[in-house]
Subunit: 188 residues, 2 copies
DNA sequence: ACCTGAACACCGTTCAAGT
DNA sequence: ACCTGAACACCGTTCAAGT
């Protein structure tokens, strides 16, 4: 996916924009919107240059968190090698929660890219990772067959909204409830 | 809560603002933001007048949907009179979903007012209705004891985000998963 | 090819002047 | 007391002119 851009300055600009955006997100208040003009200024480029490289806000956010998302995606198969599917899913949820806590923007970007992908009838790499986990759980009969990756993404999107102050007491607890909802119910 | 405003024109202005906002929301695209200046213009009042009556955007939205929210709140005890708690909760979810589908703004306002209330360590009337339903379910041993109204509000907030096109296939299905997560698990 | 930054459009919010 | 609407502030977005 490396865009071998024809000019060195273009590549350097692109890198500086991403860096400036990362800094701006880290410095900003929890749910403060990323101000694109400020990013351009910090990066030392014109606004038009930012738009040339990242036509939409989501494009920029996705790039900023590309590595984090990649890590998350790569984790799914690794977990499945050493744990039963249900436990793997639980651990994956934990990891998602961690990312989302440290930098709220990760999940915002994840949501943005997923929504974009939804129109294209694909769930993106995160959807693939989830499908892997859900399929494994279905195979062992632990996870209900009528829940897909799309469902789970929508259900755990609340992580974006949780307030910093209530994170510790609520994030894992709520993910636990969702996990229980995804499990196959034994007859009652 | 009736503010017996000292001037007739003030009351009439307030009413016209609410009416204009309702119309604007009904006419606007699904997730289009409500433009306050446009509301003021439609209502035939100055922008300052709108701000005098509704200092924040949430204040206005809450007022627009006051009756809908009241209905939702009043429904909870009625359901509990004729149905077992778990079924009552399921039906209440259905009703919430209906409101949210027809006018997406209902739920946005509900969320806004709840977030406001959260700071004040209260969950508002919606939280009270939910507490009623959850308590009843706990008493019969159907609903897990470690889930409160706050949890449920956060969990079903996804209704705000669902796209019109996927509503029918997804809203009830996802609410069902949440409901299962809220049930007490029989030993497995 | 790519970049710059002035300029435009759009909204939210305030406040001095009116009634 | 309450209202008006011009004015300000702020951002996103475009595009003619530069290199």
């Amino acid at each position: 996916m490396s865009t071998p851009s024809s000019r060195a300055d273009a590549r350097s600009n692109r890198a500086r924009i991403v860096e400036a955006a990362r800094d701006a997100i880290a410095a900003a208040a929890p749910d403060e919107e990323l101000r694109l003009n400020a990013v351009a200024q910090k990066a030392g480029v014109g606004q038009g240059t930012l738009y040339r490289h990242f036509p939409t806000r989501a494009d920029l956010l996705v790039e900023v968190y590309r590595h984090d998302v990649d890590d998350l995606v790569a984790l799914a198969p690794v977990l499945l090698e050493t744990e039963p599917p249900l436990k793997a899913l639980a651990h994956w949820f934990d990891r998602v929660a961690n990312y989302a806590r440290v930098k709220r923007g990760v999940f915002a970007a994840l949501e943005a890219s997923v929504w974009k992908d939804l129109s294209a009838h694909s769930l993106g790499p995160i959807g693939d990772a989830l499908t892997l986990l859900l399929d494994a759980g279905r195979a062992t009969g632990d996870i209900r067959p009528d829940a897909d990756a799309h469902d789970v993404i929508v259900l755990i999107a609340f992580l974006t909204r949780l307030d910093e102050s209530e994170w510790d007491e609520r994030a894992r607890h709520l993910l636990g409830i969702v996990l229980d909802g995804l499990r196959v119910r034994v007859a009652d």
